[in-house]
């Protein structure tokens, strides 16, 4: 396991996502209203790129005829077959136990702290002390 700096927080606007390649894996970094999440990019069903999917809320119903929309922007739908994955956990809504993608530990950290760290891997850009960075552990 290693920690990887994969983006500055400004790289990914709220509602947007970025595909990164670290530790031999394609990982999607999603900004949900200022919170960042990281999940494996590859849909466990047939392998589509989840970063190409639409980010949606969670539609539920307490009874026929009622609709409740909650957790806006916290689910990503596979661009092919529409499987809904929870960006917080990587689990699918319909089959959370078996159909899930790996969710990675992610932290937003200050550049000032990161420049001191020796085991860190900044994949694509130098870290400067003034900015905030998205760091995942893979």
């Amino acid at each position: 396991m290693a920690r990887h700096v994969v983006a500055t927080v400004d790289d990914i606007a709220p509602g947007q996502r970025k595909l990164v390649h670290v530790g031999g894996r394609d990982i999607g970094i999603f900004n949900v209203g200022g919170e960042f999440f990281a999940i494996a990019n590859r849909c466990p069903h047939e392998g589509a790129s989840l970063c190409r999917g639409r980010v949606v809320g969670l539609v539920e119903s307490s009874e026929p005829g009622s609709y409740q929309l909650s957790r806006p922007g916290e689910m990503v739908r596979c661009p092919w077959h529409g499987w809904e994955f929870d960006l917080r956990t990587g689990k699918s809504f319909c089959d959370p136990r078996r159909t899930k993608v790996r969710a990675f530990d992610l932290k937003v950290e200050e550049g000032a702290a990161l420049v001191e760290e020796t085991l860190l891997r900044a994949e694509t850009f130098p870290v400067s002390i003034e900015r905030q960075y998205v760091v995942i552990e893979v």
């Binding site: 466990p44 589509a48 661009p79």
Partner: protein
């Protein structure tokens, strides 16, 4: 039960070699067929437009989960609907998925469902030429399907005869919800022309042609309509069998496209059971219904069944017949099947090669 995990690429498999029996090309606009339409039909199109037998002439009867029923990632950067860009089809599908041959099945504009029969025939002629000029000539891996306006048998037969010797075409495409059940005698001249020219009849889901989309009427949800392709195909197969089409045309081959697979064994068993008791109603049948299906009917694989247990999928293939399954992706539609992951069962290399390539090679005589 195992957890589905495709986080990592699977270990390198043998090189993919695929015949994709179901690719949907699209036009950017009607104007793409103008060069192949007589002036009077261009004017007709401009003044009156396209009028299908179902309502909402240019729209699908149920809103799809995604527009154009398309993969979200299949929209060309340069604009236009999914399936309209050959470059994207090549880079996103044909090249990475090892497609050696791909068969085009144009669905939009439903020429066979046009109320104006003469316009429908003209449109099939134009769209057939369009397939060759726009697609096959620019991508030698692609093959066209002969579209026909099936409610005008005379026009249909003329178009079949006009294209039959052209190797760019592999089959005759019919949409399943015909005015009358497909096996009825009004359509026999089409089957005769197909058999005479050794061209398969491909029946691909598409539109409702004025019928309710389910046997129980109009459903509320797309999910219900999406499943109704299976019952539609059942009515196609039973009509062809019980009307005696395969007795009359013993070399006719039919491929049922995108109708699902799980229903086939139980449907065959039910037809056989009824036949054993009610045979005298259809004395022109010389054999059990399932024998006609086994001999005359092929099925494309997408949307692949996912029964949860791999052994059930293998059992299903055993019961349908491994040699009757033709691999298809449905590119660029949302329920696309990837050739690497479509079959959720352990297959031998020989089985995989048969499903992905060999069966279609033998069926269409290509490759």
């Amino acid at each position: 039960m195992s957890t589905l995990e495709l986080d990592r690429d699977r270990p390198a498999q043998g090189k993919l070699r695929v015949i994709d029996c179901d690719i949907h090309p699209a036009m950017n606009a009607w104007t793409e067929v103008h060069p192949y339409l007589a002036k009077k039909w261009i004017e007709h199109l401009t003044v009156f437009g396209s009028h299908l037998r179902h309502a909402f002439s240019e729209a699908l009867t149920h809103p799809r989960m995604s527009p154009d029923a398309a993969r979200v990632d299949a929209y060309p950067d340069e604009g236009g609907p999914p399936g309209s860009s050959l470059a994207l089809m090549q880079s996103q599908h044909l090249n990475p998925n090892g497609v050696a041959f791909g068969i085009l099945n144009p669905l939009r504009w439903n020429p066979g469902s046009q109320r104006n029969l003469d316009f429908g025939v003209a449109l099939t002629q134009a769209m057939n030429t369009w397939q060759v000029e726009r697609w096959v000539k620019n991508e030698p891996r692609l093959r066209a399907s002969i579209l026909i306006a099936q409610e005008d048998t005379e026009g249909s037969v003329a178009e079949i005869e006009a294209r039959a010797s052209d190797r760019n075409f592999t089959q005759i495409l019919v949409l399943p919800r015909t005015d009358e059940p497909l096996g009825r005698r009004r359509y026999w001249p089409i089957f005769e022309a197909a058999a005479r020219n050794n061209l398969p009849i491909a029946v691909h889901v598409g539109g409702t042609n004025g019928h309710p989309s389910t046997a129980g009427g109009w459903p509320s949800y797309y999910m219900e309509e999406h499943h109704a392709v299976a019952e539609t195909m059942q009515s196609v197969v039973s009509s062809l069998v019980f009307e005696g089409v395969f007795e009359r045309f013993p070399t006719l081959r039919v491929v049922i496209m995108e109708g699902g697979l799980g229903w086939i064994p139980s449907f065959n068993a039910r037809m056989d059971k009824h036949w054993s008791r009610l045979r005298s109603e259809v004395p022109h049948l010389k054999r059990s219904p399932s024998e006609y299906v086994r001999e005359h009917v092929w099925f494309t694989t997408q949307p692949m069944e996912e029964p949860g247990r791999a052994s059930q999928l293998i059992d299903l293939f055993d019961r349908i017949g491994w040699d009757r399954l033709l691999f298809s992706t449905d590119y660029p539609h949302w329920d696309f099947d990837d050739p690497r992951h479509a079959f959720k069962a352990p297959l031998s290399e020989a089985q995989r090669a048969q499903l992905l390539y060999g069966n279609a090679q033998a069926f269409y005589g290509i490759g």
